[in-house]
Amino acid sequence: MDIFANLAHGFAVALSPINLLMCLIGALVGTLVGVLPGIGTIATVAMLLPITFGLPPVGALIMLAGIYYGAQYGGSTTSILVNIPGEATSVVTAIDGHQMAKQGRAGPALAIAAIGSFFAGCVATVLIAVLGAPLTKLALAFGPAEYFSLMVLGLIFAVVLAKGSVLKAIAMIVFGLLLSMVGSDIETGASRMAFNIPELADGLGFATVAMGVFGFAEIIRNLDAGAEMNRDLVQQKITGLMPTRKDLIDSTPPILRGTVLGSILGILPGGGAVIASFAAYTLEKKLAKNPSRFGRGAIEGVAAPESANNAAAQTSFIPLLTLGIPPNAVMALMVGAMTIHGIVPGPQVMQKQPDLVWGMIASMWIGNLMLIIINLPLVGIWVRLLRVPYRLMFPSIVIFCAIGIYSVNNAPVDVILAGVFGLVGYWLIKHDFEPAPLLLGMVLGPLMEENLRRALLISRGDWSVFLTRPLSAVLLAIAAFLLLLTVLPVLRAKRDEVFTESEN
């Protein structure tokens, strides 16, 4: 078959010493970037882009791709250890991952995240090679109406993943949506709720808000009088580094399901990868025999979203490799890297640049292998980090976060904003509001509004498009069904819920 010849060619390219080295560098830098709070993939790829100018194009792209999916591995680390999601895709991992760390099970959480990512990465790589071209149709079938419906579905996921009050979760989503509207309006360019602050003209950055409501707020909360005891307890409790047999058995189905969901959603340009991790988490929570374990350290809540986000990170290359259209900001930077090397990606890139395309696909598999080899031994080191006394740990986290946020835009105001959101996050914790739905609302908000407006512009104000277009209607139906499923038990079991909540 043709595919084997292509793959063999790809491996021949990817296994050349220089490309292997590039792949390793990419994986290492990606892990580092993922681990350091605040420094996002986009910023790093942008920073490292100039370095790649002196490299051969294939090697350069292999390295940049390595940074991109390597960061997905690394991103889970800070989420689990210190509750700071560096990327939108690892917000969900923080929910159960950090709880596991608090119970002394950081090791298994990190290991499962790496194993899940590796499995998902391998499957998704094969998928790109085998089904890349036909799957492209999915990306093209999604118009503004479909995207809007997908975003609605994504927001419903956010409701489901909340462990407390549904009303509060919805309020947090809407709060996130409002925050996402700060900045210039896409259609008219009008400045919205920016109070003439130039740094707000392009909106609040995800990293800024995430570092604030997760990172800084967590630190401030831990400094509260009375919190020391809990922390010391965590340090004594650390048990095994590797997952137990039961952990592995428990995580296998979530990893499989997460991989499937992630692979499909990753193809969609835009918010696909983010929604993938939320969708995977929601699915597991809905399928679980005892959903109340979620949010309190369920290993499935780490395995599924981590597999999903890594699968999505891989399959998001499909539109780039088959259509030549970058589906997200990192991919757009890669297109930039190609352009600088005189390769303008287009629909024929697979035929015209077989070295590049197949070399990259093969390198992804190699990269995933490298990443798991790098990450599994690192688990021990990361867990040991937890033994550092908190009095030294927290100022270090503050500094790392501050530098990370500053580096995104070289804007001091961003750092102050993150501090303000730290106080907001502290307030949220004190009133039992959950930050994860807020962040999801913030990430999905612009996508939802833009696509709603685009859909209505194209349909000339006819709202029925969302129901007459089949894909969109199906997505909305799933959303309605999920919402019903979530709200009904809450209404029925209101009393029990209140009872269990007040126990905590």
Binding site: L48, L178, V398, I399, S407, P412
Partner: protein, 253 residues
């Protein structure tokens, strides 16, 4: 952590909550006033403190009621932004504050949380009040913010109502030391990174943040802070290639 307050909410407690809400109701005005003090020293552009004080006071006391009466009379004259702030933000919160006096708060955590969230939503409604609404079939810049702002007002009212109708945890304890020093550290870093460079700002910020915990041992913190600073100074600019100033500006000619 949560000490349950339940029915023990007393009248005095309610008064302090109500006073808190009154302050919240004029928080943006107070903030702008404090901000405007800077203009005396020539920092930033904007209205001077006297102008701010007078215009907000008139808006709150006279402008807003006048605009209400005018609106009732069918007169749709465009109100100034200060008057709108009083109308959209301050008055509803003041109303909530008054209502609070006569209520039994059964879960202070939910009630206060809901009201503050409502304040944020109302503030967003005010902030987007100058934006264009629907234009025919297409959304204006202000449509979505107003839509979600309104929705959030309703949701937060629901949360506040839950706090009145069902028993739940009371207010948790807020500490001041941690937030203050962590915030101070962040602000110092933000202000210092450009003029003083990474080395100085990272180390000083580390020490300020360390002050936030009473467990801190100074010698140990200084050593770790110094090591961390050196680590960061190598890691960020060199390994990751992020362009940032290293040393204070006055050391470079």
């Amino acid at each position: 952590m949560a000490e349950t307050m339940g029915h023990s909410a007393t009248a005095t407690r309610n008064t302090s909550v109500a006073i808190g809400f009154c302050l919240l109701a004029i928080a943006p005005q107070i903030f702008e006033f404090i901000w405007s003090i800077g203009t005396i020293f020539g920092w930033g552009a904007g209205r001077g403190p006297a102008t701010v004080l007078i215009s907000h006071a008139t808006a709150l006391v006279a402008g807003a009621p006048a605009a209400l009466i005018a609106a009732a009379g069918g007169d749709t004259k465009k109100a100034s932004s200060d008057v709108l702030l009083a109308l959209i933000y301050s008055y509803p919160i003041l109303a909530v504050a008054i209502v609070t006096l006569f209520m039994t708060i059964r879960s202070a955590q939910d009630y206060v949380g809901g009201v503050i969230l409502m304040a944020l939503a109302l503030f967003a409604l005010w902030a987007s009040s100058d934006l264009q609404g629907m234009r025919g079939f297409s959304f204006g810049a202000g449509t979505a913010p107003r839509m979600f702002g309104g929705l959030l007002v309703a949701l937060s009212a629901g949360i506040a109502l839950t706090g009145l109708l069902t028993d739940g945890p009371g207010m948790s304890h807020y500490s001041w030391r941690g937030p203050m020093f962590v915030m101070a550290s962040i602000v110092f870093f933000a202000l210092a990174i450009r003029p003083l460079g990474l080395v100085v700002s990272a180390f000083v910020s580390f020490m300020i943040a360390a002050t936030g915990s009473h467990e801190t041992r100074w010698v140990e913190a200084a050593i770790v802070g110094a090591c961390l600073t050196v680590g960061c100074a190598l890691l960020f600019p060199y390994v990751l290639g992020l362009p940032m100033p290293m040393f204070p500006r006055f050391l470079n000619p």
